[in-house]
Symmetry: C2
Subunit: 237 residues, 2 copies
C-alpha cells in the first residue's frame, strides 16, 4: 500500500483559499435569490463535492432529489408556512422580530435539493456503536455542497422549518428514508459579508474561548459551573 501514498500535498495558498470560502459561506434566503438556474456543469460540481464527502464505513448512504418543478416546490412551501406559523409561538417576546424575517427561498431559488439518508441493509463498519454516524455522513455531504456552491458564487440556504414526514410524502420517499436537509440553491444579487442573523442582531458570534476546552471538562458532571472557572481552561498543549 505505501506506493498508494501519493495523495496530493497542498500549499499555503490553497489553505488561504479554503479559509476564505469557509469564512464567506452564508445561509441564503429568498430575498437574495435570482431565478436563473445555474448551468448543469455547476450543479454537477456541487453534487460531485457531495459524493466525495466522508461516510462511515464508505457506506455513502445519501440520496439527492433535485427539484425544479414549481408545483412540488409550492407544496413544500405550503408545508413550510404551516410549520413556521406554529413555530412563532416559541419565540414569545421576540415573535414580531421572528415574523419579520424571511427564512427560506423555496420558490425564489430555481433549484431545491432534498437530501435523504438511506438506512443500510446490513452492518456498516464504524456504525455499530454510534448508529447516528450514518446520518452524520449525509450532513458532511451537505457541508461539502455548501462550500462548493459558495466557491461557485451560488447561494445555498438550508430550510429546517419543515415537517419532515410531510416532505417525504410530497417527494414520494420510500419507507425508511430520512429527510436530513432541504436546500435552496441559485444565483444571488450578492453575498452578505457577515451572517444574516448577526447583521439582524438576532444573535451574536460567541467568544472562541467559550467553545474550547483542554484535556477534559473542568465542570462537574452535573453541569454546575463550580469548577468551570475560565481561568482553569488553560492552554496546556
Amino acid at each position: 500500500m505505501p506506493d498508494l501514498l501519493n495523495g496530493k500535498l497542498f500549499a499555503p495558498e490553497d489553505v488561504a483559499v479554503l479559509q476564505e470560502i469557509i469564512l464567506h459561506r452564508r445561509d441564503v434566503r429568498g430575498a437574495r435569490f435570482t431565478d436563473r438556474l445555474p448551468p448543469e456543469q455547476e450543479i454537477d460540481q456541487i453534487l460531485t463535492a457531495a459524493l466525495h464527502a466522508p461516510s462511515v464505513g464508505f457506506s455513502q448512504p445519501w440520496e439527492f432529489v433535485l427539484i425544479t418543478d414549481k408545483h412540488i416546490r409550492q407544496q413544500v412551501k405550503d408545508s413550510f408556512e404551516v410549520t413556521n406559523n406554529a413555530a412563532k409561538a416559541d419565540f414569545k417576546e421576540r415573535q414580531q422580530e421572528y415574523t419579520r424575517m424571511k427564512l427560506e427561498g423555496i420558490l425564489e431559488a430555481p433549484l431545491n435539493i432534498a437530501v435523504f439518508y438511506r438506512p443500510p441493509a446490513g452492518a456498516v463498519l464504524g456504525q455499530t456503536s454510534m448508529a447516528e454516524t450514518g446520518v452524520y455522513s449525509v450532513v458532511c455531504a451537505v457541508q461539502n455542497m455548501w462550500l462548493m456552491a459558495r466557491a461557485l458564487n451560488i447561494g445555498m440556504g438550508w430550510v429546517s422549518i419543515l415537517d419532515a414526514e410531510k416532505v417525504c410524502r410530497i417527494l414520494n420517499a420510500p419507507a425508511g428514508r430520512l429527510l436530513v436537509a432541504y436546500l435552496c440553491l441559485g444565483y444571488t444579487d450578492g453575498f452578505y459579508a457577515r451572517p444574516e442573523l448577526e447583521i439582524l442582531q438576532w444573535d451574536k458570534r460567541r467568544d472562541r474561548e467559550e467553545a474550547i476546552r483542554y484535556q477534559r471538562y473542568g465542570e462537574q458532571p452535573d453541569g454546575s459551573a463550580a469548577t468551570d472557572d475560565p481561568a482553569t481552561r488553560t492552554r496546556s498543549i
Copy 2:
C-alpha cells in the same frame, strides 16, 4: 442591508482548489500518523474553520475538547478496544478481514479532539420542528475541520467505534452534552490517493446515478421498486 452585500466573489481557480481538497480528503488511521504535534497556529486554523461552520439559528452549539494527555487517550483507547471487540461479531464471514484493519489512531496521533453538542437553553430559530439540526450544525463544523486539516496536510480520522457515554465520563462532560465526534489529528507519512476502504476492497464507490433523483422518487412509498426503473430517472432540469 444591501450595502452589506459585499461578500467576496470567487474565481474558477478557487473552485479548482476546493475541489482538489474535497477529493483528496481521507480518513487517516493509526498506521499513518507521526507523533509530531502540529504547531499551535495550524491547530487554531482548524478550530477557526470549525467555528465558522453554519449553525441553525446562529446557535453555535459546539464544544471542542483538545486532548494530548496520554493517560486520557489511553482510557479512550481502552474503551475503543472493548467496543471494537463487540463489533466484530456483526461482520460474520468478514470478521477476519475486519479484525485485520486498523480503525483508529487514538494513541498514534498526537492530538485528539472530542467534539460535543451542547443543547440550547431555550428555543432556537430553525430548530423548532427538526430538533436534530442542532447536532447537524456540529457535524458541519467537523467537516470544515477535516477539509482545513487536509489543506494543511494534517491527517484527521473520525473514530466512531466508541461507547459515547463512556467517553463522556472519561472527559468529565457535564450532564446533557452529546458526543458527536472523536477525532485524531496529526502529521502523516503520506495520504492515500483513494479512500483506504476502497483500496482494501472493503466496499466500492457507488455509481453517481444511484444517489440522484429528479423532481421526486419514482418508487412507491412502501419501498417497492415497481416504478423505480432507472430509465424513468430522466434528467429533466
